[in-house]
């Protein structure tokens, strides 16, 4: 596949594993094993079993009647919000926990922004009886407090990341430091298609179930597996990677990746990596990231904790550079408005991350016959306080 990872771990210019030597044994253990283990029938069976019986897959591809009517086009929602724990994140944690088990790991660490990945990780750790430690930025601990409570209920320890912007980037730093300190018994479950190879590819593979299902479901509903547009929000890019995966090389399917503009691209309070980023290294991966001229990583800003990240996964950096995908920046205000609209038109309260994808209609028009698939990456239960404050409900 042209737009997928090559056998060196790169997507075009992007990717690779820019890691300190301390992580070399872990990363190379993974690199050597992830494809082999995850293609064993036993693994596939258990993965599929859990996705079906535990996560509740397949998630519906739901035709959004009232939204379609309003925007005069055909809109399907891929309902990842219906996954156990409320977002696509669990597809990946199920895969990785099985891998960790096979690798004999006893202790799991993860970073989290919105807390969805933290909850998804704590969940699979409870399921498998493994010790679980979640790093989360201090600011995110406050703005996503329901998810902090969930992690604790699930028996995980939540450790605050107090450095930098105290958000996702810093939580990731802390998780990596933990891994360096605990190289033998610990598996680090990264929550998006970021980090050193093989993480981006591994996470994308586990998330690819999303586009596999879309293909089948759309075929039944529209007679073709190919929509005109695929639309997903991009923080690190895992829900987008899952949505695009099977369509990467089907160039007749247009791909739109939606980033968080925060208070606006020009305001210095933004997380729109494609618009503001340059090539560089973040968290072990060569990709696009927001940085100063000197190469210091910029502190991003978005109202949505899950998009508040100064980089994107290397797959997306490549989709941007090669123009395979169109990148669109959505402001806090646009995302919030879209979240409220989806709630009141379709009875589905999206995560604020997801709200960004639905704000596409504020910037782009579609034709009546266009078939759109928007990934409804997660539900908004974690964001209720933010919504209520914002709209003074």
């Amino acid at each position: 596949m042209k737009y997928n990872v090559d056998n060196k771990g790169y997507y075009g210019d992007f990717g690779g594993a820019y890691i300190p030597e301390m992580l070399y044994p872990n990363i190379s253990e993974l690199e050597k094993n992830y494809k082999k283990i995850s293609s064993e029938p036993k693994f596939i069976n258990e993965f599929n079993y859990l996705l079906k019986q535990y996560v509740g897959r397949p998630t519906p591809l739901y035709y959004a009647k009232r939204l379609s009517k309003k925007y005069k086009t055909k809109i399907y929602l891929k309902r990842e919000d219906l996954c156990h724990t409320g977002a696509h994140k669990i597809n990946n944690t199920i895969g990785q926990i099985l891998l960790a088990e096979k690798l004999g790991k006893k202790r799991i660490i993860a970073e989290t922004g919105a807390g969805q990945h933290g909850v998804a990780t704590a969940t699979v750790c409870a399921l498998k009886g493994l010790k679980c430690i979640i790093y989360m930025g201090e600011i995110d601990i406050i703005r996503q407090s329901p998810n902090v409570a969930r992690m604790k209920m699930l028996g995980a320890e939540v450790r605050p990341a107090k450095s930098g912007s105290k958000t996702l980037k810093d939580a990731t730093n802390e998780a990596i430091r933990d891994w360096i300190n605990n190289p033998t018994d610990t598996h680090y479950i990264i929550g998006s298609v970021v980090g050193p190879h093989p993480y981006p590819d591994m996470v994308a593979r586990f998330q690819s179930v999303i586009s596999k299902e879309i293909k089948k479901q759309l075929k039944i509903k529209e007679g073709t597996p190919f929509p005109d547009y695929l639309i997903a929000c991009v923080g690190g890019g895992s829900n987008a990677a899952g949505t695009f995966y099977e369509y990467l090389d089907e160039t007749k399917v247009k791909i739109i990746a939606v980033e968080a503009a925060g208070k606006g691209i020009e305001t210095g309070k933004s997380a729109a990596t494609s618009a503001l980023g340059k090539e560089g290294i973040i968290h072990g991966s060569r990709t696009l990231l927001m940085q100063t001229e000197d190469g210091q990583i910029t502190e991003p800003y978005s109202i949505s904790a899950g998009l508040d990240y100064p980089g994107v996964g290397p797959m997306h950096a490549n989709l941007f550079r090669t123009k395979r995908a169109e990148f669109i920046s959505i402001s806090d205000d646009e995302a919030m408005t879209a979240g409220l609209e989806l709630s009141q038109l379709e009875g589905i309260i999206p995560a604020i991350e997801t709200g960004h994808a639905f704000a596409i209609f504020q910037q782009k028009k579609f034709k009546p016959n266009d078939i759109l698939v928007i990934n409804l990456s997660g539900r908004g239960d974690k964001d209720l306080d933010t919504y209520i404050d914002y709209f003074k409900l």
């Binding site: 300190p20 730093n173 300190n181 033998t184 560089g280 290294i281 968290h283």
Partner: protein, 254 residues
């Protein structure tokens, strides 16, 4: 001319190397610290190029890096400060920094500037051996810069041999599975690891770093290797005492 690092290892058995974050505590302390360290009898200096997201560093170095960045430290600034440093000192100077700032500066440009000001080598923790080998080695060689690699207790024998093979200057032995940070003790497992490496009789000298903080840990380290690097402990010291009493700090290790 022989690389000053090689020269040092040739002429001296055990090396005391000190790491500091350039631009900390004050933006213009770089030259002062280098001169104070040299006159205090230190054998080699690692100049930390601060980075916003130093993955392999503990709180002390992270904090000093943040302050240094706020003070205005950058690659260009550092090179400006080091411009005539070789008029003043001949101590081996190594820059230790993460890859992204170097990449933004331009690798070739960075190496050229290093050579211009008289830097002897680089330690870039997040530039892996194979990437270095495949993409950047020729540039380093062009500017006669050594690139030093790390090994850890988890590094396989095979990989250590490989690293030894391609290494110049020294091998940076990370003392433990850990990030940087001052520790009080070296435990039995670490000693076993030091012995294991020692028995491998590598061609490249080894220096032990991470967690070396006092004369006890220092002495244990140098008894198993060719030297030791002190970082966090030194940064804590100058944070408290400023740059005036650096001699006091160094004396404790002699």
């Amino acid at each position: 001319m022989m690389n000053r690092i090689d020269q040092k290892f040739k002429t001296q058995d055990k090396i005391l190397s000190i790491y500091f974050s350039a631009g900390f505590p004050n933006i213009d302390d770089t030259r002062i610290i280098i001169k104070e360290l040299e006159s205090a009898g230190v054998d080699m200096i690692e100049i930390g190029l601060p980075f916003s997201d130093p993955l392999a560093d503990g709180p002390t170095i992270q904090e000093s890096s943040n302050i240094a960045i706020k003070n205005g430290m950058s690659s260009q600034k550092l090179f400006n400060q080091l411009k005539n440093i070789r008029n003043e000192t001949s101590i081996p100077l190594v820059i230790m920094g993460y890859f992204n700032p170097i990449l933004q500066f331009g690798i070739e440009n960075f190496c050229k500037k290093c050579k211009d000001v008289g830097i002897d080598g680089l330690i870039i923790p997040d530039l892996p051996v194979n990437v270095y080998n495949n993409r950047y080695k020729s540039i380093f060689q062009k500017y006669e810069l050594y690139n030093m690699f790390l090994i850890t207790p988890q590094t396989s024998e095979e990989r250590i041999r490989y690293i030894d093979d391609i290494s110049k200057g020294f091998i940076y032995m990370v003392s433990d599975a850990s990030i940087t940070g001052a520790k009080n003790k070296i435990n039995l497992n670490q000693k076993k690891y030091f012995n294991r490496i020692s028995k491998m009789k590598l061609k490249t000298p080894t220096i032990i770093g991470f967690g070396i903080s006092n004369s006890k840990t220092y002495n244990t380290a140098i008894s198993h290797s060719n030297g030791a690097i002190i970082g966090s402990a030194f940064i804590k010291f100058i944070e408290k005492n400023g740059t005036k009493k650096i001699k006091e700090f160094v004396e404790k290790f002699r």
